[in-house]
Subunit: 255 residues, 2 copies
């Protein structure tokens, strides 16, 4: 039987420890092709490169793996992976990550990691984004390995409904073992921004985006709750953004 073809990307860049581990784990399951950004692309959301050119170079940093670094965004990587690298081959799975940092709740909108997965789903491929809720650059990923494999195998075996990608977040490593997997909804939470205002050596004002994550959600069926309680959270997400429940309301308006 042919081994499944797995396209791997991320948003932290092709040399990040998270993608290094993801590549190693996916090699246990299938044939791996990597197309990932040549520089960090965190917070890029679903950006694509339309006003500028793209570069793509093959690299041999991962032994025995066909790998390309791309000057563009995570979404660009998946598009170029499909059209230029894989060409007529169809990936059985697209995986992105493992992100260094959380992509729970509202962060899914800003996430480059998830945009690579969503781009895969748009192309009709089963797709998963993985994130570790730990911002430490030396973060320990060892506790998530078995879950990455298990979730990827499940998706390969079962497929995913059309139009859906999985947003998987892992709790940071703790003394206690991970309690298991929770299928969740996106928590109702947001970033409460504060801008750190500074002045450059020429006396001109500039800003750093900063802020705190505020969770308004008191439910126990959401990704924030799962992570806080040492579960792996799996949220099925869709790229049909239509708020279907609001259509009848708007139809009552007079235009």
């Amino acid at each position: 039987m042919q081994r499944p073809l797995i396209l791997v990307s991320n948003d932290d860049g092709i040399t990040a420890p998270g993608i290094r581990l993801l590549i190693q784990l996916m090699k246990e399951i299938g044939e791996v092709v990597v197309v990932a950004p040549d520089s960090p692309q965190s917070g890029m959301g679903h950006a694509i490169t339309i006003g500028n050119t793209l570069r793509l170079y093959e690299t041999e940093i991962y032994e025995g793996v066909k790998a390309y670094k791309c000057s563009g965004t995570p979404a660009d990587c998946v598009k170029l992976g499909k059209h230029y690298v894989l060409k007529s081959k169809t990936p059985d799975l697209v995986v992105s990550g493992i992100n260094h940092g959380s992509n729970t709740s509202i962060s899914v909108l800003y996430s480059g990691t998830m945009s690579a997965a969503v781009e895969g789903a748009i192309e009709g491929y089963p797709a998963i984004g993985f994130s570790l809720c730990d911002y430490d650059p030396e973060a320990d990923f060892s506790h998530v390995e078995e879950y990455v494999i298990k979730i990827a195998r499940n998706v390969l075996d079962m497929g995913l409904p059309k139009g859906i990608a999985l947003n998987v977040n892992f709790p940071p490593k703790q003394n206690e073992k991970i309690k298991g997997v929770k299928i969740c909804r996106q928590a109702h939470a947001k970033w409460q921004e504060e801008f750190d205002q500074r002045f450059d050596p020429n006396g001109r004002r500039y800003f750093w985006l900063a802020g705190n994550f505020v969770n308004y959600d008191r439910g126990e069926d959401n990704d924030e709750w799962a992570i806080a309680n040492n579960y792996v959270s799996v949220v099925p997400i869709q790229y049909d953004l239509t708020a279907h429940h609001a259509i009848s309301l708007l139809n009552e308006w007079s235009f």
Copy 2:
């Protein structure tokens, strides 16, 4: 009675004809504050600037209007608009556009225009993104003016349900008058990419993202149908990306 406070942004940049018209129209309705990118930001999706600094400068290009140009993305503009420009004032409406080009169907994901509106909705403000389905830089916007006003007034009067922004697209100017407004769902369509491969003067390969829009949707209740039939399309969109219908399915999997 106090005039409503309206925050205006876009993704084509603060000098684009589309935002110029939007500002002029919003001045008829309320007090206008503009925070818009200092350069084109098309295709930026919901990107935010987290690894770099942001600049914000007041500009007097719009007479009688407080206006700022920002070095960041549309989402950055709304965040800085809220925290630095408006401070304790709360906008009654956030509008973005009028975009030069379509943001129907899947394009909503890649749209900088819509990310400014969605960012407004995340902050709890009624928010609308306007786009004209005409890529001609000299495009005629005159036929949309009455609809921009009507839709903005409706949203100011009626409010919007929590978590929802409106994605409004206008057909290009035609001989026949616009037929009216249709409340729609996002059409099932996608971009069929093709990469235009070229070589620079040093012989190194580079790519331009190109491609065609492919509409798979045969329904008459979607935004593509509305535009093709000379209606204004209004799609309520949400930033809760959870595919709620897939949760029970995934709960049957064994992890």
